[in-house]
Symmetry: C3
Subunit: 457 residues, 3 copies
C-alpha cells in the first residue's frame, strides 16, 4: 500500500509491510570473478587470449596516419607502411617514450616524431638518425611489436609468446562462395565476458529482441524455442528449434575458445524450407581493458541471406551495424524505450558480478560457456582439425517441413521433445560432415537435410 | 611590499618578509571525519540515516520510464507501475544483472529487458518467462527492494532493517491549511553534511546573502542578529532576533535527526507585526554517495508567505528553486560575483575537513549539530511525540513591536541581551503549545505572541 | 609477410616469423622515478622547487575576481587587492573551508563569501565580522599564504620554509635594453620533467621541428649540429654548432636548477654574421601536480630578434605562443600531421618512464640534466653570483664566418671536431666575461666574437 493519497485516509497513511522487502538484506555486492573477466598481462584469461589471433582494428582505420589502439590493457599503435605492411608496435617509442601515434609513416615502417627513430613493422630499429652510424643501439634496441595478419578487412595480432604462435584460424565461413564479409567494430563500455556470453544465451532473443517491445529482427524470434546446448572440442554450441506453422526452424550457433563466435543469418522467418544457410556474423569480443571491449567481426552478405532486403552493408562499420541495438550511440530515452543488446550487456556494470546472479535452466549455455572458459585456461582446448585449409564450423539456419503422419495434423503444436529431436537430427547431419572437403560437405549436408524435411510427404 | 615596479627601485626589488607567511607551515591537510560524513552501507552515519524515511526522487520524475537513482551509495531504480504503485528496486536484475532502468513498466511491476523477469514493486519475482512454470527460482528469488511512501510529490524510501521501520514522520508543517507544498530536488557535488549544517549557521545569511554583494533575500537579513541555539530531543534549533526599526524579527529554524531541516519564510522584512508565520521550506539532505548529495524538499507557498510576490512556484523543481544561489547551474563568473549557498557549500571540497576549521562563537550551531549527530549515531534521539497524527515543529517568523517604556525610545537600539530575551520569550510561548491539537495550537501561539507584542502600548 | 591477399596464396597465408617480434617480451612497464618527477609537499624534488621563486600565474589573469591556481599539488587562490598588492592564499578559508575563489576582493585583501572573514595578502585575519571584536581567533588564525613578487607580468611565489627564502633571481636577460618581455603560460597534461628536459635536447629540433614534416622554425634547424653539453654551478648548458654555407651558427642554451631555462632567438637562419644575440624565451616549468604542469615564461621581442617578422607578440599569452606546436589546443589530426613539442612531451604519458628509455649519445644533455637535478636535491647547487644586481646568463645565437685558410675551400664541409672547436671558442669568450658589468660585458663579448669571425679574411 505505497501509493495512497493522504487525504483519502484522513492523514493516517498505511505503512508498507517492511518484512517483504529484501533491499537491506541483499545490499552487499560480492566481487567479480577475476579469473574469467580480467585480461591484462599475466592474468589467466588474458594469457589464454594471447595464445590466439585477435583482431585489433579494421583495415579501413589504417590510412596515412598511425592509429592508437588499446588491446588487453596494452597501449599500442597500428599503422600501414607505404609498401602495405601493417605494423603493431608498443605505443611509446623505445628511445624516450614519445607516442608513435605521432610518428611519420614511411616506405617501410614508422619514424618517431621526436628524434626520427625509424622502426620496421616488426619493431626492428632501422635508423636512429641523431646517433652515430655505428651506435650499438641499432643492434640492441627493438621496439615492442606483435605479428600481424590482415584478412578481409580486419587486422589480427598475435600477442602471446612467440614460440606458441598458432596458425591463423581459417574457418570455413570465411571462404564461402557468394558471401561478402563486411568488417565492423563496436566498442562497449564493459567487460568482455558479458558481451561474449550473450552469444550462448538464445532465450534473450525471445524477450529483448521480440516480446519486450518492437520486433528487432523477425516475428519468428519471439516464438519460444526448444534449446539444446553442447560442448565439442574448442566449441560451445546451441541449437534452437521453433515450430513456425508447418515448418520447424532450427538455428545452430557456436562460440570457439576463447572469444570467437558466430551467429546464423538474422532475418529468418521460418516460413519456407531452407537447408544449411550459413552465417550472419562472425565476431571476436576483444578486451580493450577490463572494463571496455570491442566486438570486431564481419557481417556476411549474400543474395540468399539478404533475400528480404532487411540488411544494409552500408550501415556496417566503425560503431555501426545494420542490426538494431548493437551500439551505444543512441539517445538514452530510445535505449530505454527499445532496448538492445548493447544496453542489456553494458548495463550489467563495468564487470558483471556472477556471484549475484540467479541462473535457471535457460542459462545453461552461459554456465557451460564459463566452465568451458575455465577449463580452457587450465588446459587449452584442442582446436578442431581442418580440411583443405579450412576449419569446419556449424553455424546455420535450417528450416524443415514439420514431420507429421498426416497433413491434417499440421495445426497441432509439436512438443518440446519433438522439437529437440528434430534439432538433434540436424546436429547429427551437420557434425557428421566435418570430414568432407568444403564443397562436398555443403552438398552432402543440404541433401541430408532435405531428406529429413520430407517424412510426411 | 609585493608589488613594486622594478624600474622604480633601480632594479633592487624588496623581498616580502617571509616570516609573516604561514603557507608552508599549514600546507598539510588532515583527513575528513568519516564517522559523520561517510554514509555507505555499514558506516555509522549511513546506518543512522537508513533508520529514517528518506526522499529518493520526486513523483514528477516517475513517468512511463524507470528512473535510475543512487542513494546512500546504493544503485537503485525507481518506477511507478501502471496501477500507480511506486517501486524502488536494486538496479541490477537478480537474474543476470542487466539494469532495470532499461526494464518495461507493467500493470503491476517491471520486467527486465533482457529475459523478461517480472518484479512487483516489492521485489517479488512474479514471472521468469524463459524458465519452466515450476522453476524453484520463482520462490527463491527476491529482487532487492525498499518500502516506499509517496507524499505530496516526493517519494520516500526506508532503507534500513525491516524490523526497525519507523512510522512516516508527519510533521505539522506538511498539513497546514492554505499552504501548498511544491517539491524540489537539487543536486550538490559534495558531501551531505556541509550542505545540511548550513541550516544551523544563521550568521552566513548576514554575509553571503546580504553584505557580500547583492541582497539575495531582503535587507533585513543583513542586520546582525542575536542568536540562541538549543537542542531538544531529536532537534537542534536556533532563534535569531533582529531589531528592524520599531520591530523585532525573531526567526526560529530547526533540524531533526538525522538530516531533516526547516527554514521559516524567506521574504521577511521585519517591518510589520507577524505572529507565528510558518515554514518557507522543509527539506532533507540525502547522500547520493560520500561526495554528492541531493536536497529534496518542499517550498511552501501561501498567500501570506508570498504576500510580497517575491517567490515563484513555477521556478521550483528539479535543480531549480526560486531562491538565488541554490543550484550549481549558473556560469562560473556569476558564481564568483554573486555567490550563493551552493558555491559556499560545495567549494569546501568533496568532503569538508573539520580538523582544518577555526570555529568561533558564531559557529555554535554547527558544533552543536555535529555533536547531536554523533550522539544520535550512538543512541538514537527519541523522535518527538505527535498530536492528532502530527508532530509539532517550531519553524516560524515572528515580528513583534519592540518593547519600550516610552514611544520616544523607539530610535534606541536594543542590546544583545534584550534581543536574546525577546527571542527566549517567543521560544517559551511556542514550545509550551506542543501539547495542543494543531488548530488550537496555532490560535494559542498567535494569541500569546500578540500579547507579547504590546507591552508599551 | 603480414599483408597478403589470401586469394593470391590459394588460401594458405604465410605466418609472420614470430621470433622477431618482441612485444610479448617487453610488455611489462617499469614505474616512474618518483625522486625527480614527484613534487607534492615532502617529496625531494618538490621541496627543492619550493626553495626557489616559482611563477604561479600571469599578472593579466588577476582582474577584479580571485583566481584559483594549483601549484606543486597545493590548491591556492591568487588575487590582486584594490591597492595593487597580490596575495596567494591557501584555497580553503581557515574558518569553515569555503573556497576563497568565491571571495570578494577588498581594498586591502579578500573576504570569504561565507561569513566575511577578511584576509590581508599575507594571510593575516583582519576581521571576522560575525565574531565578537575581542575574539581570540583574530590573533590565532592565519590563513596559509605565500610571499609573492610580481615582475614583468608574471607573479612569482616562494612556497618553501620562510627562513630559507632566497633573493629573487634577476637574470641579466630580464633587463636587456630594447627587449620587451611578453609573458605567457601554457598548460601541459603531463609531468613537469618531460617538458623541462626538452630544453637540453637539441637534437629533437633537427627532427621534430624540421625533418619530420613542415619547417616549424627556419631551414637551418634541420642541419645536424655538433653538440657540446656542460654543467657549471647551477646550470646545465649546450652549444650546437652548425655549418650554414660560409657561416657557422653557434647556439648556446641553458637551464638553471631546478626548473628555469632559456633558449636563444628562434628565427636564426645562420646566413649572416651575428655576435651574441640573446634570448628568445625565458621560462619555468612549474608542476601543477605530478601529472600536469605549466610553462610560465616570457617571449623576448626586440627589433633585432624579430628582424624577419616571424614572431607575433599578439599571439603570446594564456595557452598561446607564436611558435608552432607549443600548446595542446590544435585538433588531433593536425597534431599527427605536424607534430609539435607539446605532443612529443605530453604523449610520453602522464609521467615518463625513464627505465624504459634507450638513451644514446644524443641524449647526453638529458642524462646530464637528470644527474644535475638529483645532485641538486641532495646538495643545493650554488646559484651564480651577480654583477650590478644581475646574474649573467649565456643563452645566445652567434653566427661566425667559417674559418678557412683559402676562400676556395668555402664549399668544403667542416668536420665535427672543427665545429666543436668553434663552439668551444664561443663558449670561452662568453663565460670569460661573466665578471663584467652588463653593458661592458655585451660590448666585450661582441668584440671578441667579431674577432673570432675573421680568421680567413
Amino acid at each position: 500500500m505505497t501509493y495512497l493519497l493522504l487525504e483519502q485516509l484522513n492523514m493516517i497513511q498505511a505503512l508498507p509491510d517492511a518484512q517483504r522487502f529484501m533491499g537491506h538484506a541483499k545490499r552487499t555486492k560480492p566481487a567479480e570473478d577475476p579469473s574469467l573477466t580480467h585480461t591484462q598481462a599475466d592474468s589467466p584469461m588474458g594469457e589464454a587470449m594471447r595464445l590466439h589471433w585477435q583482431p585489433v582494428c579494421m583495415s579501413s582505420q589504417l590510412n596515412d596516419l598511425p592509429l592508437p589502439v588499446r588491446i588487453l590493457s596494452e597501449d599500442l599503435v597500428a599503422f600501414r607502411d607505404k609498401t602495405g605492411l601493417v605494423g603493431l608496435l608498443h605505443k611509446h617509442c623505445s628511445h624516450r617514450g614519445a607516442s608513435l601515434e605521432f610518428g611519420r609513416i614511411t616506405d617501410k615502417g614508422i619514424r618517431c616524431c621526436y628524434h626520427g627513430w625509424h622502426y620496421a613493422h616488426d619493431g626492428r630499429l632501422l635508423d636512429a638518425p641523431a646517433e652515430p652510424a655505428n651506435s650499438p643501439l641499432l643492434q640492441q634496441v627493438k621496439q615492442g611489436a606483435y605479428p600481424v595478419i590482415e584478412f578481409k578487412g580486419l587486422v589480427f595480432a598475435y600477442m602471446g609468446p612467440p614460440a606458441q604462435m598458432p596458425p591463423f584460424p581459417h574457418y570455413d565461413s570465411m571462404h564461402l562462395p557468394d558471401v561478402e564479409l563486411v568488417p565492423y567494430a563496436i566498442s562497449h563500455d564493459c567487460n568482455w565476458l558479458q558481451v561474449h556470453e550473450n552469444l550462448m544465451d538464445p532465450l534473450h532473443a525471445v524477450f529483448l529482441h521480440s516480446r519486450m517491445g518492437e520486433i528487432q529482427l523477425t516475428e519468428a524470434w519471439g516464438e519460444m524455442p526448444a534449446v539444446e546446448w553442447f560442448e565439442k572440442g574448442d566449441r560451445v554450441c546451441y541449437l534452437t528449434s521453433r515450430q513456425i506453422g508447418a515448418h520447424v526452424w532450427v538455428r545452430f550457433n557456436e562460440v570457439a575458445f576463447p572469444n570467437f563466435g558466430q551467429v546464423a543469418g538474422f532475418w529468418e522467418d521460418g516460413l519456407t524450407a531452407k537447408f544449411f544457410e550459413r552465417v550472419g556474423a562472425s565476431r571476436w569480443t576483444v578486451p580493450i581493458d577490463n572494463t571496455h571491449c570491442w566486438i570486431f567481426g564481419w557481417r556476411h552478405f549474400s543474395p540468399s541471406l539478404e533475400a528480404k532486403g532487411m540488411g544494409n552493408a552500408s550501415q556496417v562499420g566503425l560503431n555501426q551495424l545494420d542490426i538494431y541495438g548493437q551500439t551505444g550511440e543512441r539517445v538514452y530515452e530510445e535505449m530505454q524505450r527499445n532496448t538492445g543488446d548493447w544496453e542489456a550487456e553494458v548495463s550489467q556494470g563495468p564487470i558483471a558480478i556472477h556471484a549475484s546472479e540467479n541462473k535457471g535452466s535457460s542459462d545453461r549455455g552461459v554456465v557451460m560457456l564459463r566452465r568451458h572458459l575455465a577449463q580452457g585456461i587450465n588446459s587449452t582446448h584442442l582446436p578442431a582439425g581442418s580440411i583443405d585449409g579450412q576449419t569446419p564450423t556449424w553455424t546455420c539456419n535450417v528450416v524443415l517441413h514439420r514431420p507429421s503422419p498426416m497433413a491434417s495434423d499440421v495445426e497441432m503444436k509439436l512438443s518440446v521433445p519433438e522439437l529437440l529431436s528434430i534439432g538433434r537430427s540436424v546436429k547429427t547431419v551437420i557434425l557428421a560432415a566435418d570430414c568432407l572437403s568444403p564443397p562436398l560437405r555443403q552438398a552432402e549436408i543440404m541433401a541430408q537435410l532435405q531428406a529429413l524435411s520430407k517424412p510426411y510427404e
